[in-house]
Symmetry: C2
Subunit: 338 residues, 2 copies
DNA sequence: ATAGTCGGATACAACGTTGTAGAGTGACGG
DNA sequence: CCGTCACTCTACAACGTTGTATCCGACTAT
């Protein structure tokens, strides 16, 4: 079987603790002894048993990332970024999918499987304000996304309102006046949809444009098909518009397809802007202007914050923090100046 | 801190082993005792320490999935499927990204981090035939993808040649005769590109169509931009063609964009077929006909095979197996009958 | 010369769990 | 009435690692 400290110690003619000391770079080991131990380690191909180490130290070196599902590009790209950030810190990432299902999300929060890792980066979708208390968990937790405000945990997120306002203003500056929104959620306030819609309204307000409820397309989910369906419905109702703000890129791309199907031209007849800066937004026809919400920064910060909490066992850091990433408009072909 | 067996045992007035027996459903425990222990467990909110359990049992209940990168949709959807399959079996998945880089792939194979899990599902991209020996690893390993034939490990993959042949025949049956291939790799034989190109040639052969090297578009990577660039190059050379076979969906979608940019119509002037059945293939304009290579089946089988190997410590199962998934053509708008 | 310090190494216990061996109890058959 | 057996439970060791206490020798300061 796999070699242990005992095997190495026997071959090197030292105690197991000395081998352990060599491995952990404990300073007081004679160079000569160290060399002998190193040789033995290589000879046996010794690799430490991480379970034993975890048992001793109480830490595993892994973190959990819980998100709705990887087949949604936004979350796939988020996971990519989180894994890279974790790797830079020498940590490894375990992924749980919740499907955005509230029950499953609550289950993940208390799952024994979490004990396999040192902390959780959690992007909830189904949970609401009523579940805030469930976030009082006995392990380090960092939240992503928008569902929970003022929870008991650190929260890393994007400037939804400001960024959505900037996106809307971007369209207005380019001469668009009747801007459809695709992806709103009925009566939602605290989720991404609610916040982005608020940014939209702020921009209209600031520009002195009137808000027209007929321009708002509601969807339950944010898949491409929802964007297309919602757009088709608006087209069928004969609403007049000269621009579309997809509350995420996937919706925007779906809407763009529906617009083109209907014989309208993007961007000549209708300008389109999205939100998320997915990889695919560069390759649509026309390429999609969008908001880069700072995904890499979010991932990096979430990992750093979580690791801080993990390292901080006596609560020296203090209360839950809210951290907001920088956003940026990425201009492409779908929104030329008129 | 977290409760242990000792705490539960003390409260319930039994030995720790009895508590352990209750938890592991050992049959010979008096109902009365069992109930008392259960109560104590709930009272303390006891959850077993998985590190300790792992140390004892030698198993962690987690598996590693190593793949190029999650921001490639194909791999994101593969990861999604693997995680679901693992979850059904009560296992959890840790993800390593290799970026398709050979050095990084070899590193992953020997990383100590692997010891945090019971086995590896590995989708290599950079490794070649010369590295086959590196796959002789002292832990359960299941390979995905095409780079390695006849390796020392179980291999779950798709019927690349047959499926590519079927895709090509699908175009031929619909009256197309000059079929461009996008995404070929120079001189490659064993990779997905080489195999799919072989299927293409077989189909031409069977239909009595001549192979024209001018119709083959080479790319190094399989991103959307590569598909677009390669297609633009062929268009610039003035090659005549009436169909495009993208060796994956991403390439096909990129190529489709380039075709439309050039003023040609899909599918009227050019039919397009892809490979992978990504989610997004349904939502392009026109929607993309493609090959579903059996991704769910591959994920399910890979997990099942790996778990078998993990459970089979005395090598009762025997030699490495090759398992091929069923494929299927998914017909959409990009390939109407002429 | 002696106490104190430092470098270099070791023995032992402990992390929390489960397998093994075995002890105690009662029922049952001969 | 005793041996056997099934049931119920316990004590102990072990998984492989690292922290703590400790030991020995050599060097420094007084």
């Amino acid at each position: 079987m796999a070699a242990t400290l005992h095997d190495v110690a026997r071959i090197a003619g030292v105690s197991i603790k000395t081998v352990s000391n060599v491995i952990n770079d404990y300073p007081h080991v004679k160079p000569d002894t160290r060399a002998r131990v190193q040789t033995a380690i290589e000879e046996l191909g010794y690799q430490p048993n991480l379970s034993a180490r975890s048992l001793r130290s109480g830490l595993t070196g892994a973190i959990t990332l819980a998100l709705p599902e990887l087949s949604l590009s936004y979350f796939a790209e988020l996971a990519d970024a989180v894994i890279r950030a974790a790797e830079r810190a020498g940590k490894v990432v375990l992924i749980e999918q919740t499907n955005g299902d509230r029950a499953r999300e609550l289950e993940v929060l208390t799952s024994p499987r979490l004990k396999m890792t040192d902390g959780l980066i959690f992007s909830p979708l189904g949970m609401g304000m009523d579940d805030v208390a469930r976030l009082e968990v006995p392990y380090p937790l960092v939240l992503l996304g928008e569902r929970i405000f003022d929870g008991p945990a650190d929260h890393v997120t994007m400037r939804n309102v400001e960024a959505a306002r900037a996106a809307t203003e971007f369209l207005i500056e380019r001469g668009r006046k009747r801007i459809v929104v695709i992806g709103a959620h009925e009566d939602e306030v605290i989720g991404s949809a609610g916040l982005r819609l608020r940014g939209y309204m702020q921009a209209l307000d600031a520009a002195g444009l009137e808000f027209d409820p007929a321009l708002i397309g509601y969807t339950t989910l944010w898949h491409r098909s929802n964007g297309a369906t919602s757009m088709r419905a608006l087209l069928a109702m004969g609403v007049e518009f000269d621009a579309v703000f997809g509350l995420n890129d996937t919706l925007a791309l779906g809407a763009m397809r529906a617009i083109q199907e209907a014989g309208l031209r993007v961007p000549d007849d209708v300008a389109v802007i999205g939100f998320d800066d997915l990889d695919e937004a560069q390759y649509s026809l026309p390429s999609l202007t969008t908001v880069n919400p700072g995904r890499d920064e979010i991932a990096e910060t979430a990992v750093a914050t979580l690791l801080q909490r993990i390292g901080d066992r006596d609560g020296a850091i203090g209360d839950a923090r809210q951290i907001l990433a920088r956003y940026e408009i990425v201009e492409r072909e779908s929104t030329p100046p008129l």
